[in-house]
Subunit: 254 residues, 2 copies
Amino acid sequence: MIKVVLLGTGNVARYFFDNLREKDHIKVIQVVGRNVSALDYFNDSKAVTTDFNAIKPADVYILAIKDDAIAKVSHTLSLQNGLLVHTSGSVAMNVLPNTIRRGVLYPLQTFSKTPPFYTANIPFCIEADEENDLDLLKKLALSLSDTVHKVSSHQRLHLHLAAVFANNFTNHMYHLAYKICEDNAIPFTILESLIKETSHKIETSTPFEAQTGPAKRGDTAIIEKHLELLPHTKIKEIYSLLSQSIKDTYGDEL
Amino acid sequence: MIKVVLLGTGNVARYFFDNLREKDHIKVIQVVGRNVSALDYFNDSKAVTTDFNAIKPADVYILAIKDDAIAKVSHTLSLQNGLLVHTSGSVAMNVLPNTIRRGVLYPLQTFSKTPPFYTANIPFCIEADEENDLDLLKKLALSLSDTVHKVSSHQRLHLHLAAVFANNFTNHMYHLAYKICEDNAIPFTILESLIKETSHKIETSTPFEAQTGPAKRGDTAIIEKHLELLPHTKIKEIYSLLSQSIKDTYGDEL
């Protein structure tokens, strides 16, 4: 039995709570958070507290709080035993106090109030100083997912950066497409199939191989036409910069 | 029975050929292309020709050739009857000769040598001068897909522009993420689940609602850190411009 204390009440804490509680060999024994109303969500665990000095002894303490609070909050905790892990992509493991066993349990997924579609195969990135702790984190991660990677703080930082491109910037591309549709009385849903196709292609091709479109083809006439159609300087700038970047990527082939 | 002649031998022509041939009430009676070896693919239709003056009489002539060749090639054809349509997102219907019934049958999907995953629900955008011809195109499109939209040349041009953002630029984001992973010995496959999640979220949220990440949160510390990690000026520029665009999008909320 792995006893877990969750520290935090946001979307990531909710994800761990909802998914760990069903497991036989894992028990979430306590949820700790500053915000009383946010703790409501976890109430049926019958062990919620706002007191960071009343943390129960556990095997793993999962600190699922905002990135910029991890260093500070972790140094105020008085934990005797167990492994303290944070869940952030961009925070190094060594910001956690070195007076206690420490590690990282980073689920590489975008979390919002609604649960993710792809819950079963969220890749987990784990890190710890000791082999035993890596084993413990692996066991915990494998109870939630099929995919666990040992990733260093340095790699994780770059992975988080890659995820900004793959998720945040991609979603912003959808948003810009949405605005173009909206401005021209076209339902955005018409793009759904294309968007899914684009995301599924990476299963069978590299993005380098999958690239299509006017910039890839070097079709200057269409690029010029599109720039004329775009209403604002900012979005024209984005179109130009990304088209140029695609052209540069395939520069030697054209 | 709708008799179809396909003009062109590229990926879009292949798509129509492969998917129309199985239908009971539609028959591809001929494939016309300049390139003898490209016609090989269509050989078992037993009616391929390189002679654009030997086109058989048909109900619909589907001109699936490069955008910049549509105007020129369509004016060299001597068709007596039937409906001539092109399949391009960015070419107006009226570049086709007005001496014949004309229209557009635009499948909104990215086509490459490998067939699309999402074949059954490719949205078709149709356009024609006459109501009868719209009905004919609708019938043809519905044999291939559940989703048919009547879209004007003006709308289609904007839709194609939106598709550049939703598909071409999105795929380039994947490519930039791929490079970051590659440079840091991280397998790109680790991002697959996140990428699919991002694309599926638009089924239940608008992209505006689904946005997450440092730019959305106004997390300047992480943005600065990421800019330091990026190796080249060009990619830094993309990161900055897109982060700024996201900040602008949520400007009033922060």
